[in-house]
């Protein structure tokens, strides 16, 4: 870890916090996801600042980004692009859709039909798209930040579990605290700041930070803890399905990324706990409520963090 890294991180966080008020943890989680190279799913009710956060992330990272509002009549071609006949050259030429950008903002992903959703999700996994038998690579880095309304809302198509699994982290923002809300009401900061946002990171710096994530040390004791957690999700009757190996990998990678953001070169159990809800929440089936606490939190309280 070079000397500039902590400053860079704190500068990034500060810039984000000026745009999205009173959501430090969620912002940190979002950045964690980006550094770990995973896609983000922001889930909450409309008007909670999901889109603002997504915008801010794209802006701060200094990456080229496209935003798309998903609707129920959206077709895959609208996202990916389409081959159109060019009269002059008498040939089909591929016109790239909005997906061809470094950060793709999929607003209200669950309003789109499963067909459109799956087109996006394929691109997320493969980092490439295939149209008419031709493969087009997506730009690097490639992030998808999707926002989603809770599934109880009318006119939504729930994402199947296999597709939820493609998102590294799921973050819900929640209501702001009164002080932050008052600031928001005064209109002094917040969304209005978006336009004046300067890019703290650029592509090179972002990749440098990303390359540090796998170097964060994982001790045996920590992996023991992670495995205890995973074993609990698989064995406990409170979870219909346990965490998959991909989920477990996501947990470890996110914890490393979180530890890096904390300025540490090794992972502590508290790092795992910090990211656990975001990693496991959408992967563990259903939203079982155990005595009023979300399932992920319940698991954390049941598994010994030490020993």
């Amino acid at each position: 870890m070079t000397a500039v890294t902590p400053q860079l991180i704190s500068a990034t966080l500060k810039a984000l916090n000026q745009v999205v008020l009173g959501k430090e943890t969620q912002i940190r989680l979002a950045l964690t996801g980006l550094l770990a190279g995973g896609h983000l799913l922001l889930e909450d009710l409309p008007g909670m600042g999901k889109t603002t956060l997504a915008h801010a992330l794209a802006g701060v990272c200094g990456l080229e980004y496209q935003r798309m509002q998903f609707t129920s009549d959206l077709l895959p071609a609208d996202i990916i692009g389409a081959s159109i006949f060019d009269r002059q050259s008498s040939a089909f030429t591929f016109h790239r859709g909005p997906l061809f950008s470094q950060i793709f903002l999929a607003d209200e992903l669950n309003r789109a039909s499963p067909k459109a959703q799956s087109a996006l999700l394929e691109a997320m996994e493969e980092q490439q798209v295939s149209v008419d038998g031709k493969t087009y690579a997506l730009p690097r880095p490639f992030f998808v930040i999707a926002t989603q309304n809770p599934q109880s809302q009318a006119g939504t198509f729930a994402l199947p579990e296999s597709q939820l699994d493609r998102f590294l982290l799921r973050i819900s923002l929640g209501y702001p605290d009164p002080a932050a809300e008052r600031k928001l009401l005064r209109g002094a900061e917040g969304r209005s700041q978006l336009n004046g946002l300067t890019a703290v990171l650029d592509q090179r710096r972002l990749q440098a930070l990303q390359s540090l994530v796998p170097q964060v040390k994982l001790s045996d004791a920590l992996l023991d803890y992670v495995q205890r957690l995973i074993a609990y999700t698989r064995d406990s009757d409170q979870c219909a399905t346990g965490l998959s190996p991909r989920g477990a990998q996501a947990l470890v990678r996110s914890a490393q990324s979180w530890a890096l953001l904390q300025g540490r070169s090794h992972v502590l159990p508290e790092d795992v706990q910090a990211v656990f809800t975001a990693v496991a929440g959408h992967r563990l089936s259903g939203r079982h409520e155990a005595q009023g606490t979300p399932l992920a939190r319940h698991i954390l309280s049941q598994v010994d963090a030490v020993g």
Binding site: K217, S219, D220, A221, L222, S265, H266, V267, L268, P269, E270, V272, Q273, L300, S301, Q302, V303, D304, A305, V306, G307
Partner: protein, 681 residues
């Protein structure tokens, strides 16, 4: 699947490299002690096969084929032939076994072969006790047992995930703890299992020749004995220790003199014949003994000598043990001593013996070879004529030893083959106890007074640490007994007149000037004081081992159990034994069943548990799922005066658990962690 893979051995699978090395170490360990007793080329054979084996495992050499194996076996058998071991003997059989044990190395490919080697190792370990039962051999055996069991563990359950040193330690610890769990049962069996006499006798290993006093005396023999510091026996006295100059340990009486050699009878008897002879003609007659004076009660533990002689203070009135008592007041064993033997006896040194001398005994005690030593006979007759009484005559003969220039030496000149007494008394006048006792008895007999030579040991070394007396081979001695009409047999030791130190202070003191005490031994610890004390301490431990472990025979067992439980009844025995067995079983259930449920913790986790306990005392308990960092911050907030100590501890703990590399040394940090915990407590 997971568990079966762990617990069962795949017999066909190849033996791991570490398993092979373990086996080779084991084989060396088991074979090494046999070097003292058996052909020494066995070890090079093992080294050769071991190197071959390692090369095979590493892939440098091929596995030996059938032809090579047969050739090797043939070479081994030829070597055996040339070692000159007698055919049907223990040595021969054990050598064959060891040879096979060494050759087995060449074909231990899979775990099953390894297990065969380990079991053979167990057997050989037991076989070694046929050769030595010393405390050292016992300790070595225990050590080997731990290693053998460890190898069994390694073969069954190789610990591939550990470092070499770690896994070695772990395995040895496991093996030792398993054996420790067997200890209660072992002790119980040792104490209560019936002690049966051996069903058959093994031929005595050839390397253990007969030692100690022999049944004849030619001047020169005892000097040889006095060059040995081997132990003859040890004695514990019930009361006070008798004065040193009273300690004449009677072995056997020599009556027959042929001009050169003193022996028991005119004929050489085999032991069985000798015993029959004693039974028929020379039986112990209690009424010949008139007990007087104070009793000396003692227990003597005789070393293995290969001879039947026992050594007691004269005369013995009561004796316990499987012994034969003879009319000449000796006590002897019924068979050769092949193992340390314990005898308890009570002696009354002031008693009168044989006031009525049996004609046969008188005849034996007056025998002289015809026509030898004319000068001595003349002298004896002349002195007898000058004396008023037999007593006076004895005094005159003894006075002659004192006044003439006799010299006590362990390096006497040779006396030729005829007229040896004459040559000694008139010409050389140099000799040791055998010369003095022999010549004195000759003179007595020449004057018609019944007399005989007694051989045995005199004195002994008092071990202040263990309160017992050690009698060594160099304490061997010969003295005389004469019979007088009114006092029976009297002990007379003419050596005392020439060298009083010999009896008062032992042979070492007597030989100080000459320097001939144990002169053939390169290193004699006898003259360095602290070494002597150390030697006595060690000897004391060994005596305890002999007496209470090796000497725990049928009688000892009976006495011990009776002391413990009173009169033995079947009901009592069943209840006690059943209770003890139940207790041991219960112990095992606890050790085997409950212990594994407790999770094994690394040292840092144990310290952390103590940390949590210490904070819990102050009312702050860690929730189950709470991460160490969160807990420490909460505790620091709740206990501001200890905040820095708590946070310091947590920092070290987190570093130890989560920040160290796998191979990094933890010891320094563990020390810091303990220190920081102490500050908290």
């Amino acid at each position: 699947m997971k568990t079966t893979a762990k617990t069962t051995v795949n017999a066909k699978a190849a033996l791991s490299y570490s398993g092979t090395v373990w086996l080779l170490v084991l084989q060396l360990l088991v074979m090494l002690p046999f070097v003292q007793y058996l052909p020494q080329w066995l070890i090079p054979v093992l080294v050769f096969t071991a190197i071959w084996r390692i090369r095979v495992v590493k892939g440098y050499s091929n596995r030996p084929g059938l032809r090579v194996k047969i050739t090797l076996i043939a070479i081994g058998m030829i070597g055996l032939q040339f070692s000159g071991l007698p055919f049907p003997s223990l040595d021969f059989m054990v050598t064959i076994l060891l040879l096979g044990f060494a050759f087995k190395t060449l074909e231990t490919d899979n775990p099953r072969d390894g297990i065969v080697v380990v079991f053979l190792g167990y057997f050989l370990l037991a076989v070694h006790f046929l050769y030595s039962q010393s405390i050292l051999a016992g300790l070595y055996g225990a050590l080997s047992l731990v290693v053998l069991t460890a190898v069994l563990v390694v073969i069954q359950h190789p610990l591939t995930f550990m470092h070499n040193r770690q896994s070695t330690q772990h395995t040895l610890r496991l093996s030792a703890s398993m054996l420790l769990q067997c200890l209660p049962l072992m002790l119980l069996i040792f104490i209560v299992a019936p002690r049966l006499p051996p069903l058959f006798m093994l031929p005595l290993p050839s390397s253990q020749a007969k030692t100690g006093i022999s049944d004849s005396m030619t001047p020169g023999d005892i000097a040889n004995l006095s060059q040995s510091d081997g132990l003859a026996f040890r004695v514990t006295f019930k009361g006070d220790r008798p004065p040193q100059n009273q300690l004449y340990w009677r072995g056997l009486t020599l009556n027959h003199f042929d001009g050169r050699r003193w022996q028991q009878f005119a004929d050489d008897y085999e032991l069985r014949q000798l015993q029959r002879h004693f039974e028929q003609h020379y039986r112990w007659q209690p009424n010949q003994l008139e007990v007087r004076g104070t009793a000396i009660a003692y227990e003597a533990l005789y070393e293995r000598s290969g001879q039947p002689w026992l050594f007691t203070l004269t005369p013995v009135s009561e004796v316990y043990g499987d012994v034969l008592r003879v009319g000449d007041y000796r006590v002897m064993a019924r068979r050769e001593l092949q193992a340390p033997t314990l005898v308890k006896a009570v002696s009354y040194p002031d008693s009168l013996r044989d006031i009525n001398l049996q004609p046969m005994v008188r005849q034996l005690a007056l025998q002289l070879p015809p026509d030898t030593d004319p000068r001595t006979r003349t002298l004896a007759r002349q002195l007898r004529a000058d004396s008023d009484s037999e007593q006076d005559f004895i005094q005159r003969v003894l006075a002659r030893y004192r006044t003439q220039p006799f010299h006590y030496t362990l390096r006497p000149p040779t006396l030729g083959s005829t007229d040896t007494i004459d040559r000694f008394l008139f010409d050389s006048q140099r000799g040791f106890c055998a010369h003095y006792a022999g010549s004195f008895v000759f003179m007595m007999r020449a004057a018609g007074i019944p007399a005989r030579v007694v051989t045995g040991y005199q004195g002994g070394e008092w071990n202040a640490a263990g309160h017992y007396l050690s009698v060594h081979q160099f304490d061997a001695h010969a003295w005389a007994e004469v019979w007088l009409a009114d006092s029976g047999w009297l002990r007379i030791d003419p050596t005392t007149l020439v060298a009083p130190d010999r009896v008062e202070r032992g042979l070492e003191a007597a030989m100080q000037m000459e320097g001939s005490f144990l002169e053939n031994q390169l290193f004699t610890p006898h003259n360095i004081e602290w070494l002597k004390q150390l030697r006595q301490q060690i000897d004391s431990v060994q005596y305890g081992w002999r007496r209470f472990v090796l000497g725990y025979d049928q009688d000892a067992q009976h006495n011990f159990l009776q002391n413990l439980f009173g009169e033995l009844t079947v009901k009592k025995a069943v209840f006690t034994l059943g209770g003890l067995l139940l207790a041991i079983g219960f112990l095992w259930v606890i050790l085997l069943g409950i212990k594994p449920l407790r999770q094994r913790h690394s040292p840092e986790q144990l310290i952390y548990q103590r940390f949590c306990k210490a904070l819990a005392k102050q009312g702050i308990t860690r929730e189950h799922g709470q991460a160490p960092g969160d807990f420490a911050r909460r505790a620091a907030a709740a206990l501001p005066e200890q905040a820095s100590a708590i946070l310091d501890f947590n920092r070290s703990y987190e570093r130890l658990c989560y920040a160290l590399d796998k191979n990094e040394d933890k010891t320094a940090l563990l020390g810091t962690l303990k220190q920081q915990l102490k500050q908290l407590q």
